[in-house]
């Protein structure tokens, strides 16, 4: 490598770094299309899969993926593609409830802490520290052991683990926006505390919060699948993705598709949510 190429290297490297993060719209489009497909599966599953997700054809048991059964069939002859399609509503709705839970409570805590400051701020932030100090799975399990097993319980249990992230972000955003000149001006021109908060601070803090919501949506799907896998979510024969992977474990030696394909669907959903979150926060920064 000659000296001239070396001196030019830093700049090309830096631009390639930026390009790697930003200018790949194909991936973003793919992520959006994929998530749209997931939502369509959730809203109109009958349009995409014609079989029955609960009752199978016993003679069709454990068939490998084929033209007739895209994702293969499980031990009781249920079509795995149908089950994955009908399962998307469970995962997506549970994740949505979980994120909304974290968003509402977390942003609420952050707004109050960042606006009121003082003792309230200190107390609320220590509570948030506690939520961060307990490993997320153990936090979820503590809620589940009290509330019992089930889809709603899982949604709340996962939602609580995202409260801390929303609270910290909302607080930081409120403190950042509060220091802006136009907020000072709004106060100076006689705006009351609450009206300035709602009309100026909240809307300007929203974009990063939404980016975090998309990110948490992906994390929530991972947690829901894990809790479903452990058997704490919807009971069988619900076609929940995590539960399907757990059920497929018994046939791991012979039927790879039972565990692999639902897992790939989960990974793609999380990847898509993360990609969209990155796009939102990059647009905000630009």
């Amino acid at each position: 490598m000659s000296d001239t190429t070396r001196t030019s290297e830093p700049s090309t490297r830096r631009s390639s770094v930026r390009r790697a993060g930003r200018a790949r719209p194909i991936l973003l489009v793919a992520a959006a299309v994929y998530l749209a497909l997931m939502v369509a599966w959730a809203v109109l599953p009958g349009l995409f899969a014609h079989g029955d997700p609960i009752v199978g054809v016993a003679t069709d048991g454990l068939q490998a993926p084929s033209a007739a059964h895209w994702f293969g069939t499980d031990a009781t002859g249920r079509d795995m593609y149908t089950r994955v399609v009908f399962g998307s509503v469970h995962t997506l709705v549970t994740a949505l409830i979980a994120v909304l839970f974290g968003l509402v409570f977390g942003t609420g805590i952050g707004l109050v802490a960042g606006s009121v400051r003082g003792v309230v701020d200190a107390v609320l932030m220590r509570l948030v520290d506690v939520l961060l100090a307990v490993p997320s799975l153990l936090l979820s399990l503590s809620i589940i052991i009290v509330l019992g097993f089930g889809t709603t319980q899982v949604a709340i249990a996962v939602g609580i683990t995202s409260v801390a992230a929303f609270a910290r972000l909302a607080r930081a955003e409120v403190m950042r926006v509060r220091a802006m000149d136009y907020v000072e001006a709004a106060f100076a021109s006689g705006g009351s505390f609450v009206s300035v908060l709602l009309r100026h601070v909240l809307p300007n803090s929203l974009t990063p919060v939404i980016a975090l919501a998309a990110l948490q949506f992906g994390t929530a799907i991972l947690s829901i699948a894990a809790l479903g896998f452990l058997g704490y979510g919807a009971p069988p024969p619900t076609p929940e993705w995590g539960l399907m992977i757990a059920e497929g474990r018994n046939y791991i030696a012979t039927s790879w598709w039972l565990t692999t394909i639902p897992g790939v669907v989960v990974v793609l959903t999380v990847l898509a949510a993360n990609r969209i979150s990155t796009a939102i926060s990059e647009r905000n920064r630009a």
């Binding site: 830093p10 220590r126 100090a133 399990l141 452990l230 565990t259 989960v266 990974v267």
Partner: protein, 313 residues
């Protein structure tokens, strides 16, 4: 000095709240539910036996006294008794902990090695497509569920290739796949932070000076960048401890390893709140202590922070 004291005080407060929250959630709330279980006619217990049971479970003691009894017990390592088996929780934890510690520490070390290797390779590789690929690996592995990764590993390495047995593996053999399943999702966010902070350091003027003096890329990375990039990595490593504990619970379940994770899973399935309470409080304590240590180490590793800390003091 006041920085250190303040930070320690903060840690103590967080631990106190964590203990209280775990007490309220897992002891005060379900306490009555457990008694309902024993008082139902199906249990076949006479009123005398129930009274005895209530006494032995401490249900007749006022709640604030229960709180201080439990707190005192936790401070000296007495975590009460398992509802399911009646064994002391401390015995359950003591027998499960060594396995989990081996799994978690090996996974943590492997994760650090993987993250550093990936970050360095991503910087040193001169092929643009390779660099892009290495850089996008972490975001892929962040999106992979730990339990599924474990299953895929078993599928590929045990059943397809037949390299590693799943049934009765040797102590080392049996550790390889669980450690990999646990380490990869931890290594991914670590590598992301490392790559980002290396990028940040590389754009600083002093790097241009070193480079113009004729230093090689490897020299710059190992001498100049490493010291600066290690600090954010240290912070994220502390924060990832929670992920490590969560991941260990799932990994142990997938691979059928005995340990804290299996104990946790059984506690939830059997509604054994005292066991979960102890595990939650101990995990929180470990998390808080490690992150306290990281914060206290920070000024030692970064002289700039030392002056800020003393100026503030």
């Amino acid at each position: 000095m006041s920085y250190i004291l303040g930070r320690i005080g903060q840690a103590v407060i967080v631990l106190a709240i964590a203990f209280t929250a775990a007490f309220v959630l897992l002891q005060a709330l379900p306490g009555d539910a457990l008694l309902i279980k024993f008082e139902s006619p199906e249990s076949g217990l006479s009123p005398d036996q129930i009274a005895l049971l209530r006494d032995s479970l401490g249900a007749n003691i006022p709640i604030w006294q229960q709180f201080f009894d439990t707190l005192g017990g936790f401070l000296v390592g007495d975590f009460g008794y398992s509802v399911q088996s009646g064994t002391p929780v401390s015995v359950i934890i003591a027998s499960a902990l060594p396995n989990t510690l081996v799994l978690a520490t090996s996974a943590f070390v492997v994760a650090i090695v993987l993250a550093v290797a990936l970050a360095v390779l991503a910087q040193l590789s001169w092929l643009p497509w390779l660099r892009t690929m290495l850089r996008s690996l972490p975001s892929l592995f962040i999106s992979v569920p730990v339990f599924w990764l474990g299953i895929v590993l078993i599928q590929v390495f045990s059943f397809r290739l037949g390299w590693l047995p799943v049934i009765n593996p040797g102590p080392i053999e049996g550790l390889i796949m669980p450690v990999a399943a646990l380490a990869l999702p931890i290594a991914a966010p670590m590598a992301q932070v490392l790559i980002r902070s290396i990028d940040d350091v590389l754009t600083q003027p002093f790097i241009a000076v070193v480079r113009s003096k004729g230093a090689s890329e490897w020299w710059i990375l190992s001498r100049n960048v490493a010291r600066n990039a290690v600090l954010p990595a240290l912070t994220i490593a502390g924060l990832l401890l929670g992920e490590l504990i969560s991941g260990a619970v799932i990994t142990e379940t997938v691979f059928g390893r005995a340990g804290i994770g299996r104990a946790t899973e059984q506690a939830v399935t059997n509604q054994d709140a005292p066991v979960l309470q102890a595990i939650v409080v101990i995990s929180a304590a470990i998390f808080v202590l490690v992150n306290l240590l990281v914060d206290l180490l920070y000024p030692l590793l970064d002289p700039r922070l030392k002056t800020i800390a003393t100026v503030n003091a």
